[in-house]
Amino acid sequence: MNLFTTILRFLQTTKEIDLPLFYPEVCLVVGLVGILFFQLFRYVKEISPFLLMAGVFFIAGLFSCFGLETQHRTEIFSGLLVVDSFTCFFRFLFSLTGFFLSLLLYLNNPVSSKSAEADIAVLLLGATLGTFLMVSTNHLLMIFLSIEMASIPSYLLVSLRRSQKRTSEGSLKYAVYGAVASGILLYGLSLLFGLFKTAHLPTMANEIIRLFPAMEQAEIMLFSIAGLMVIVGLAFKVSAFPFHFWCPDVFESASSEVNLFLSISSKGAALALFIRLIAPFGIFETSPEILNQIRYFLSVVLAVLGVLTVTFGNLAAYGQTSLKRLMAYSTIAHAGLLLLPLIVLLTALDISSKELAVGAVSSLLIYLGIYLFLNLGMFAFTAAVCDNNESANIHDNLSGLIYRQPTIAISIVLILFGLIGIPPLSGFVAKFAIFAALTSGYLASGNILFLFLLLVGGINTVISLGYYLYLIKIIVWTPSTTRPTVTHTLTPATPQTETIGTYSTQQYHSNFSRGLTALVTLCGSSTLILFLFWDTIYTVCLRAAHSLF
């Protein structure tokens, strides 16, 4: 009888509390099954799976919207997951990414057969489900499960363009590296579980506070190794410096849509997971001094990772001839910059400053939100030119673009200036928020490390100028290269010779449907619009960050 009532109560809480907070994920699952199911019927089959997927993401985004402002921290499914505004923010961000991704896939279909389209849709929905779980995880087990849930579909997505020789190399690299990273992560997680006898993160934080002062040398050693292993696993997803090797190859071989997913959703989820791991240690009431050592260790590791990543990414981007590889290194550099607010977060927990912690987290959130539109524009562009021409050479694709496609060229130039981070473009807001977090971190704690990080950030802005301006130079200055056009287009555009100014340009094939032009232009103009109205976004980010602590 007792057992029966317990089960009943459990079911009731699941139905009344847990499930309503889980609707976005449910929506993805239903959509996933639905798309597969639709393929069985003759007429429904004709609807593009990408459009269906866009619909699913739209609904999931709507569901996540509800909690964006007011959701308090609630643990669901007996503490496996946690839902707060922070979760909702990321769900919304990933739904938005998914929505634009579906549109991009629909406009620029990278595969020929209908069933392959359904495959892509299902895999993307599955991977996004994984990222949803990653940002709401509250349990060691869920960390591993959600990361795998996001990773395994990505391995498949990367290998979709099987016709290309390069693809197999990239996808194999990704799968092998990914498997190793997962293994290391799992090892670290099990060590942590063994040390503290619990997998529930807040409980584990309490246990650490309780046990850490009495720990022996060997146990501390084990603890730090376990922590490092977890960091390695996550750093692989973020593509931080020594674990970035997969990134350029994968970005070159996978289709641009997948790149967008990897650069926003996958990296964003990993960063959110970092915060989820750090935040439980911010229980301000219980003497935080005990944890200072751990936090110091973590912040040094993260600072080294961040500084190396951003510097390496920016320097390596110089040597690239392929636009997609260059973008890969650019995402590495941005990921490095995104690691820096985590250090501010750690310091904020050190000195028990909630304001500082909120500022640090929200700077990361607004960065991701703005970065989404910048990357969307770039990858929509590479999807249209590089993937369809089967060449990602910078000169072939970009030279003289301003004479061929002025609207697109201006949008891309705006996006590139945005990526450098120059006002009045949205990228500056992102950079400003990160620098602001670092500065306030310095003034609050007086730690010289932050001055160093600020210096590195500033120098890297100047370094990154070189290659972005190089692209802009090719777009605006260099006349088009004349090359035989590759006929691999859906909307056949007749090759034409046009004379503009002093240049006579044989049109190199750039196949922009009207929809794609609209999408790229939207991203280009969003750089200006988001800059003017960033207070709105920032307020949402602040709310999301507030709900963490």
């Binding site: 006002p423 602001a436 100047v462 130079k473 960033w534 920032y538």
Partner: protein, 592 residues
């Protein structure tokens, strides 16, 4: 309704941008319409600026005029706020004048005319915004906005090495901007406006001079604080006064980007005085970072190397804008931001600022002597002239030694400001003259010139007047600024003053030698000798305008400039002098 400050000043700023939108709608084949629309916009913006000044500007007022402030990004206390005073007034007029002249000089541009017109107008918008903005963030945004059009204007319409020059220009300026950004963030997060509210006559108009130990109280009104912020402060202050509900409203500092509030904080509180690194305070570092950022734009030696390249490669009108207005952004920044906000840093680094000023003067003049390229020579003369600006701003003689007498320093700043305006006119004129010659003979090699006098007498006459203005001949505009700066320097350091006076000889050297090499001597027989035709109507209009401006400014400096600027500058130097007194009291420096 439309006479409210926000509409008036926003109109000035965004009118050229709206013009750019109009130009966008004109088909690119219709070059005539493109040119005349753009010219119309530049004329109209100059006209509306001048009529605004005539209608609203009061030269007797020392504080901000027609100010407004509207919230933009409340989460970072960023406001859209602007206003006029004696410091930015003439830089705005200069922008209008050079913008107008520059477009007349652009008549020869044929390549991608539409893009050129759009970028040109956007650049003007950015410049107006920069000089009007009084929120540090807004200032920074406009600072960078001017960078983007300039990059393309040099890079697309420039000479053979345009890509290199444009990139170098962008790289240097961006490095400077990063320095400014870092300093801006540090000052923002260290600031707390509530302390200023307590020190000033905020909400307590009965506070008299006597109560405030003899010094006049801080005028809250003059800071142009946004009403939203005032409400926040009032909420927090009233709570702390009553002491009852203190727990309910959080006691968080209210940071600010308002330049005047930051200046008040820098001068009246110790918020920026915390030691930062290696024993130098936050003010010291902020001053250094800001100074480097602005000095790159100015430019001063050794951060000047982008300038000769950018000038040589840029087309004539863009050189005019670059020398005439863009360089003044740096001087304006130092005067508006560095000194009022970081007086402690300024006092600490005064020797560095003056040293760099003298170094630039010497190096620029010597380098100009060594040039064989006509345009490069004018570019180096700009470096030398900007050295006077730095020196004039930097001669902080209002110390205990001279009983905090600010008269001489004020003279130096007046001189620096006048030098900026005079150089804006004369160097833009010089670049225009070089452009006229280049358009005809297609080279700028000084060794191949000579004897232009015979072929183009009227042009030569104008040239000599404008070059003499650059040299600093009494009666022309260059003289006033130089003499005031040298006189002010005498009080600060006699050695520096002698050195500064010596540079005048070098300047005379390269200017006279240039006139001799280009205009005098036997009739020109170099390349394209037949192309040396007399000035057309457009060119002569510009030449005569420059000559008239140069003479009027030289003969009536007070009536044209000082009458409008002196009150503001006096106020700023007086405040800094009083700060110096308080600072010495704190440091226990004996009074002489």
């Amino acid at each position: 309704m439309f006479t409210e400050p926000i509409y008036l000043l926003s109109f000035i700023v965004f009118f050229p941008a709206l013009g750019a939108l109009t130009v966008l709608a004109i088909p690119k084949q219709n070059t005539k319409a493109l040119r005349f629309t753009t010219l119309g916009v530049t004329v109209a913006s100059l006209g509306s600026l001048i009529s605004l000044l005539v209608a609203y500007y009061d030269p007797e007022m020392a504080t901000l005029q027609i100010p407004f402030s509207v919230g933009w990004i409340p989460s970072f206390n960023i406001h859209y706020q602007m206003g006029l005073d004696g410091i930015n007034l003439f830089l705005l007029v200069l922008t209008g004048v050079i913008g107008f002249f520059g477009f007349i000089a652009s008549w020869t541009i044929t390549k991608y005319l539409k893009g050129y017109c759009i970028l040109y107008l956007l650049l003007l918008s950015g410049l107006y915004g920069l000089f009007l903005a009084h929120d540090f963030f807004l200032f920074y945004v406009f600072w960078e906005i001017t960078l983007l059009p300039m990059y393309f204007l040099i890079g697309v319409w420039g000479g053979p090495r345009k890509e290199y020059a444009a990139f170098k220009f962008f790289l240097f300026t961006l490095a400077g901007s990063v320095c400014i950004l870092l300093a801006m963030l540090m000052l923002y997060f260290a600031s707390d406006i509530r302390e200023i509210a307590k020190l000033s006559d905020f909400d307590q108009p009965e506070k008299t001079i006597a109560e405030n130990q003899g010094t006049p109280p801080l005028e809250w009104k003059s800071l142009n604080i946004d009403p939203q912020i005032e409400k926040k402060i009032r909420a927090q202050l009233s709570v702390s006064n009553e002491g009852t509900q203190a727990t309910q409203i959080s006691d968080t500092p209210i940071h600010t980007f308002n330049l005047f509030a930051l200046a008040a904080i820098g001068q009246h509180t110790t918020q920026f005085s915390q030691p930062l690194l290696w024993g130098i305070s936050l003010q010291g570092w902020a001053f250094l970072l800001l100074f480097v950022g602005f000095a790159i734009k100015l430019p001063v030696v050794p951060l000047h190397t982008w300038l000769p390249d950018a000038h040589v490669e840029a087309p004539t009108p863009i050189s005019m804008i670059l020398a005439g207005i863009l360089l003044k952004m740096g001087g304006y920044g130092i005067l508006r931001v560095c000194y009022p906000i970081c007086p402690e840093g300024a006092l600490f680094w005064a020797w560095l600022v003056c040293g760099i000023g003298i170094l630039s003067m010497f190096y620029g003049a010597l380098a100009a002597l060594a040039q064989t390229d006509f345009k490069r020579l004018v570019a180096y003369s700009s470096v030398s002239h900007m050295g006077y600006v730095v020196l004039g701003l930097g001669v902080w003689s209002a110390t205990a030694e001279y009983n905090y007498n600010t008269e001489y320093w004020e003279m130096g700043i007046q001189g620096a400001l006048f030098q900026m305006l005079a150089h804006g006119i004369s160097s833009a004129g010089m670049f225009f003259l070089v452009g006229i010659v280049y358009d005809r003979v297609k080279h700028r090699d000084l060794d191949k010139f000579g004897g232009l006098f015979g072929k183009m007498p009227r042009f030569t006459a104008c040239s000599i007047v404008i070059f003499f203005a650059g040299m600093g001949l009494p009666g022309l505009c260059g003289f006033i600024g130089e003499v005031l700066v040298v006189l002010a320097t005498w009080r600060y350091s006699i050695t520096l003053a002698v050195a500064a006076a010596f540079v005048v000889i070098l300047t005379a050297g390269y200017i006279l030698w240039t006139i001799q090499r280009v205009y005098l001597g036997p009739l020109y027989k170099g390349p394209n000798a037949d192309a040396l035709i007399p000035l057309n109507r457009r060119e002569s209009f510009l030449c005569y305008s420059f000559v008239v401006l140069v003479i009027i400014m030289g003969v009536f400096p007070h009536q044209t400039v000082f009458r409008y600027t002196e009150k503001t500058i006096q106020r700023q130097t007086d405040e800094l002098g009083r700060w110096n007194y308080r600072w010495d009291q704190l440091q226990k420096v004996p009074l002489k």
